[in-house]
């Protein structure tokens, strides 16, 4: 809502500058985007073109002598319409125009030019507010404009504007009157009465005009009649105020309907009375009913649109746009004034299909029925005064609204306990009175009568907000609540997992959950129904992800494209699915590693399966699942994984995740990923931490390297080693995998570091060697493994 200071001054005295007004309004809850002069320019004066000759060196420039009162200036002007005898806007030497333009004395193609003759665009008036002539040349002022006078003032554009960004509940502020009440409350000023006086003559409109309301979506409908209107240009003050408010002036009658809407907040519609059949009906449209609206477009209506009909055909879309064939034209003689209240939700839905307008916005936010009556009368006043209309007697009325003030009780305790303030009774009462609410107080109880214009106030908390607003929240001192502390219940594990992964040297990412539906089944063989959006913003993001691996792989690709080869990242997030009618979401941890990984001071290693497996083991150990997990070759595997380097992660016999290499067909570079379903994992109970006697006897380490077929899983070998090792084998680690020179083609060497210990004695080589032999024997039997020499 653009507020014109000149306009609101009709109804309340404002004696502060525009910036102060804007800030003071902000502090009571009315934010603004911009505040300043309507024409933000300096040194513009009225001049008269004394002579106008063609420039000797140009086919379009003119050299003019312009009288600006104190002196006569030589000015070069390029506008095609400049002519001798015109009164024009002259920007003097040193003038500043919108857009940072500065006018300086100079020469144009050898001719002295000591200023500029301005068009409306050059002084910042948008072209939609300009006449066709103004759009193509300089603006010509009326011949009675005084030489040397401030040109902005001469045009009546010496106004100031605040462009407010209002909250949705303050529909009352979409009117000059509403703004006047708000400003009046801030500065303790009375709001002045609106002039509704006019004469009414002739036959009562009710005798010849009938109204038929056939829908609950119209609660109030008023019609009045203005005869013999004289259509012409509006007086300057109306045109300028419309322009300042962002509405294009058209002719006096149409302008008056907009002017009254701006003043009262009540949208009006004027019909050419001679094109109606003496009747108005309000009803819901029929499915596929047709109406050509003011903008010349034929609309296809639905049963959710409210239409106005004259009994034979639709003539308007209620609250949104009028029909073309009953619009006010230059030849219109008689006018029917419609002032009505239509259902805000219905108007909003219709306007979304057609066009959002100043009127539809006001219906959406809600209207005060008292203002509807006021607006109908005000339109008559202005039509009589500025269009020489004769107003018929009477008003056609259909009214199902409540118009009395709303009575709400509030106590001083209510106010001070909710605000935590120390406001006195007199202060609270004064605030209500300033807002224009009548009050009666008994003891600490205040009975407040809230006028209907304040649609946002229904309960005592709303009144307390009003007190807080005007009193000033920033005048209330802050304190801390005194509340007993209760133990937290957020899964501490999530925080631990995040910290662990960061400590291990991975970067945390944050990715979008929305993917294309074709990507949702990548990297998984789980059976689920994807979660699809009804109305996605784009096809790229039309479905919620199930596995996060796709998200992290996209991040990897983004980085790889930018030359970031070393990518070790993780994310904790959700995966979504549908089973039958039920929707579900699981918390997941996803890890992706590629390139080199920092493995200690001055040490980096190319990521391989064992590094990412080590990361996952480290994590599972830290969560308390030590010795409860294993990595098992999957029975079924997504084609997006490398079949030889992928495993299911099993905890307590239950699959909780997957770890593996992205298939070489998808990525040439080696990219390892792992995903754990944390919702499933964290359901598995961990054992209590318990002290275990440390063996007093030293342990012995033995390394063996086994050469096996390339496709044999190291995990399977480790299982057999464990079995063969028996109780004295306390730990197995894989520390090297090698294939290539020195190893037969199709085979690889896997090196295991084996730790032997016993809590009762020191183990000797004599005791360990037989165990080692057994290990070699059993791996040979199972895998045809050979001890690497």
């Amino acid at each position: 809502m653009k507020l014109s200071k000149n306009f609101v001054k009709d109804y309340v005295d404002v004696d502060v500058d525009i910036k102060t007004l804007a800030e003071d309004m902000t502090n009571v809850g009315n934010e603004y985007d911009e505040a300043g002069k309507l024409v933000d320019a300096t040194k513009l004066v009225v001049g008269e073109v004394l002579t106008c000759d063609m420039h000797p060196d140009s086919d379009h420039l003119h050299v003019c002598k312009v009288d600006v009162g104190k002196e006569v200036l030589n000015i070069v002007c390029g506008a095609p319409n400049v002519a001798k005898g015109q009164k024009v806007i002259v920007a003097l030497d040193g003038a500043e125009l919108p857009g940072g333009v500065k006018i300086k004395k100079g020469q144009i193609r050898g001719q002295e030019s000591n200023g500029m003759i301005c068009s409306l665009s050059e002084i910042g008036i948008e072209s939609k507010f300009q006449s066709e002539e103004d759009k193509t040349g300089i603006h010509v002022l009326p011949s009675d404009a005084k030489l040397g006078e401030d040109a902005v003032k001469a045009m009546g554009l010496d106004d100031e504007i605040i462009d407010f960004d209002l909250t949705a509940n303050r529909g009352d502020l979409l009117s000059i009157l509403g703004m006047a009440y708000e400003i009046g409350a801030i500065y303790d000023k009375k709001v002045k009465d609106i002039d509704l006086s006019h004469k009414e003559n002739g036959e009562d409109i009710n005798k010849t005009f009938s109204l038929d309301i056939n829908t609950d979506n119209c609660k109030l409908f008023l019609a009045k009649r203005a005869l013999n209107v004289e259509i012409k240009e509006s007086p300057d003050f109306i045109k300028n105020r419309l322009l300042a408010s962002g509405i294009r002036p058209i002719n006096n009658v149409v302008d008056i309907s907009n002017y009254v809407m701006l003043e009262t907040g009540q949208p009006l519609h004027f019909y050419d009375a001679d094109r109606l059949k003496g009747k108005i009906e309000v009803r819901m449209a029929k499915e596929n009913e047709k109406l050509t609206t003011l903008d010349g477009i034929e609309r296809n209506l639905s049963k959710d649109d409210i239409v106005i009909s004259d009994g034979t055909r639709p003539i308007g879309l209620a609250g949104v746009m009028g029909g073309l064939d009953t619009e006010i034209e230059a030849t219109t003689k008689n006018v029917i004034i419609e002032a009505a209240i239509f259902d805000g939700v219905k108007v909003r839905l219709t306007s979304k299909k057609i066009v959002r307008s100043e009127a539809s916005n006001r219906f959406e936010k809600g209207l005060d029925p008292n203002r509807t009556y006021m607006a109908a009368e005000r339109a008559c006043t202005l039509l009589e005064k500025y269009a020489n209309a004769e107003i018929s007697k009477g008003t056609v009325i259909y009214d199902k609204t409540e118009k009395e003030d709303k009575e709400i009780d509030v106590t001083l305790e209510n106010i001070n306990s909710l605000l935590g303030s120390n406001i006195k009774l007199e202060e609270a009462v004064d605030i209500f009175e300033r807002l224009g609410f009548k009050t009666k107080s008994r003891g600490n109880l205040i009975k407040v009568k809230v006028p209907r214009r304040r649609l946002d106030i229904d309960i005592k908390e709303d009144l307390i907000e009003e007190v807080g607003r005007i009193y000033g929240v920033n005048n209330i001192e802050g304190k801390l609540p005194v509340v007993p502390t209760v133990p937290g219940n957020y899964d501490r594990n999530i925080r631990n997992i995040r910290n662990k992964m960061i400590a291990l040297g991975l970067n945390e990412t944050l990715s979008y959950i929305l993917l294309n539906d074709k990507e949702v089944n990548n990297f998984t063989t789980d059976k689920f129904e994807p979660v699809k959006l009804l109305d996605p913003m784009s096809e790229d993001r039309n479905t919620a992800r199930y596995t996060m691996i796709t998200s992290l792989f996209k991040i990897y690709e983004y980085n790889a494209d930018r030359g970031n080869k070393d990518v070790s990242i993780f994310e904790i997030g959700k995966g979504f699915y549908k089973h039958g009618e039920e929707y579900g979401e699981d918390l997941k941890l996803c890890v992706l590693m590629s390139g080199e990984f920092y493995t200690g001071i001055n040490s980096k290693k190319e990521v391989d399966f064992y590094i990412i497996k080590g990361i996952i083991e480290e994590l599972l150990d830290s969560l308390g699942y030590e010795n409860r997990y294993s990595f098992v070759v999957p029975k079924e595997m997504s084609k997006d994984f490398h079949p030889g380097q992928t495993a299911d992660i099993i905890v307590n016999g239950k699959k909780v995740g997957i770890i593996g290499l992205v298939h070489p067909e998808i990525s040439e570079n080696k990219v390892f990923v792992s995903e754990i379903n944390l919702s499933n994992l964290l359901e598995i109970k961990t054992g209590k931490m318990k002290y275990k006697e440390i063996s007093k006897f030293p342990s012995i380490k033995k390394d063996i390297a086994l050469v096996v077929d390339k496709n044999i899983e190291s995990l399977e070998i480790a299982k057999v080693i464990k079995k063969a090792g028996g109780s004295n084998l306390s730990n197995i680690e894989i520390f090297d995998v090698y294939e290539g020179k020195g190893i037969e083609k199709g085979k690889r060497s896997i090196a295991f570091s084996l730790t032997f210990s016993n809590s009762d004695k020191t183990l000797t080589d004599e005791e360990i060697n037989p165990i080692l032999e057994k290990i070699v024997d059993m791996t040979e039997k199972e895998f045809k493994a050979e001890l690497r020499k």
């Binding site: 502090n27 809850g29 934010e31 909250t167 949705a168 303050r170 909003r348 959406e364 306990s417 909710l418 605000l419 935590g420 303030s421 309960i459 908390e461 307390i464 907000e465 807080g468 607003r469 929240v473 920033n474 209330i476 001192e477 802050g478 304190k479 801390l480 609540p481 509340v483 007993p484 502390t485 209760v486 937290g488 957020y490 970067n507 945390e508 944050l510 990715s511 979008y512 959950i513 929305l514 979660v531 959006l533 009804l534 109305d535 913003m537 919620a544 991040i555 983004y558 980085n559 930018r562 970031n564 070393d566 990518v567 990242i569 997030g573 959700k574 979504f576 929707y583 579900g584 979401e585």
Partner: protein, 219 residues
Amino acid sequence: MGYTVESGPELETDRFCFELLNLPQGHPARDMQDSFYITDEYLLRTQTSAVQARTMLANEEKTPIRMICPGKTYRREDDATHSHQFTQAEGLVIDKNISLADLKGTLEIFAKKIIGENSKLRFRPSYFPFTEPSYEVDVSCFKCGGKGCNLCKQTGWIEVLGSGMVHPNVLRMCGYDPDKYTGFAFGLGLERIAMFKYGIPDMRYLYANDVRFLSQFDR
């Protein structure tokens, strides 16, 4: 500060996301154009406020509540300052005798710890359907400290959060008697704060996950 950390589903129902928060049918915020609906009933939550209602309803003994809920939220918008996916944190305190002064004091501490020791707050009355009274809260500009600069558009203030006293309708629908209990709630967009705090010009940078970007934030 003694808050519990709560979480809730991101695939939320209309009831928790809107209805219980005093956003009745027909409210503009429920439009298709603003929310990602899955069915008539399910949608990707548009605000972590949904967890307010869940926390209150789950608390059958009506013991005092002091909770914070960080989480992902989704709306149909995408540009330099809006992302269709973003992160909010929601705070809620409910007990007998909770006042606006408590909200003010709490947010003042929050601002000092999160934004900076010298930060100041400005409360501007505003409108949210689930709080009454409602306030938007501005913090003194991260860059100029309040003198006015290009970041704060010369106002000296930057809007960082929405807050207010829990609306009696919300209390009632979530099982609390508004004559006995009051409470405050606040919500803030975490990306926005990160952008101001670290001088990140475009919200999309946060979701590109370039490792050269990520590794700058290792503290």
